[in-house]
Symmetry: C2
Subunit: 180 residues, 2 copies
């Protein structure tokens, strides 16, 4: 994994990819699959919808840290597998052959097999809304990957990978942050 400027981290989340969210409860790492995410601004702040129905919730609340790992299309069955079992009774890193890498700012691990990882601190949890607000601390990408297609969950058990690419940078220039 190589560093990605934090100012570009929002470009990993804005397209709405499925993410693998890692946590570390002090004893071992865990990971969950989440599609309900949102960019909050251009400063690497994000929102997640989650709550106590997820085993990772306790670690998220207690440690106030996590990593948003962006899987590529090659990890489709890992994404589904991680999303359909629980860290309560499963070591998901072992079961799905995921390699935890040390983060720089948080104890939750990066995932070596993912396209990119964003280390995050929890800024605020609004339990009434099942809302977790995150602030990115550092971002990392694997520049060696040739297939960089992200996955998008439809929510009905089907997924799309990124397809045709449209470059409208010239037309969008006035609306983009400097340097993006």
């Amino acid at each position: 994994m190589e560093p990605l400027p934090l100012s570009r981290a929002f470009t990993l989340i804005e397209p709405g990819p499925v993410v693998l969210v890692t946590t570390h409860d002090g004893t071992r790492p865990n990971v969950m699959t989440i599609s309900w995410t949102m960019v909050r601004n251009f400063e690497a702040e994000f929102a997640l919808t989650t709550g106590s129905w997820n085993h990772s919730w306790r670690a998220l609340c207690d440690t106030r840290e996590c990593v948003l790992a962006i899987p590529g299309a090659d990890l489709i069955d890992t994404v589904v597998g991680v999303g359909t079992c629980s860290g309560a009774d499963t070591d998901k890193f072992a079961r799905f052959g995921l390699t935890p890498l040390p983060s720089r700012h948080v104890r939750a691990p990066l995932i070596a097999e993912c396209l990119a990882n964003i280390e995050c601190r929890v800024e605020e949890i609004i339990t009434r809304l099942d809302l977790v607000l995150l602030r990115g601390q550092a971002a990392h990408i694997d520049p060696a990957r040739t297939d960089r297609r992200r996955l998008h969950a439809v929510g009905d058990g089907t997924f799309y990978a990124d397809g045709e690419h449209f470059d409208r940078r010239a037309a969008m220039r006035a609306k983009l942050p400097e340097g993006i």
Copy 2:
């Protein structure tokens, strides 16, 4: 446009498509492009990040209604155009040749050219967080469209259309709401 069961509306937003958000200020309709959206639950509740920097903000606050319209990949240049001018000085429906259709529950119009539309009421606005919480009232799709690819903004002026499709319904069954 034909009705889509409201229980399936989240499947329009979960993949993270660019949306066109229509409002109606009492005088005329307006529309903005937004990518910062999130599903909040399986009951057609959604979140948007937006704020007073958008001309539509006033209508959203005053009327507490909007429509989330899902453009197909054919509308890429409309999405960019709508996102780079302002309703303050432009009739965007006229300029981009968009056809407003009457909604059933709200005054904000559906967009005939879009793949789907979700009529929404504003449940709550948290200005401190630039957060708007929406509740879907009805959903509509255009079943006649053959190209149903949605668009995903990267945030750097480029976009991806939905590409390869993966069916993992069997593996996901236990995690899906009844009937999805």
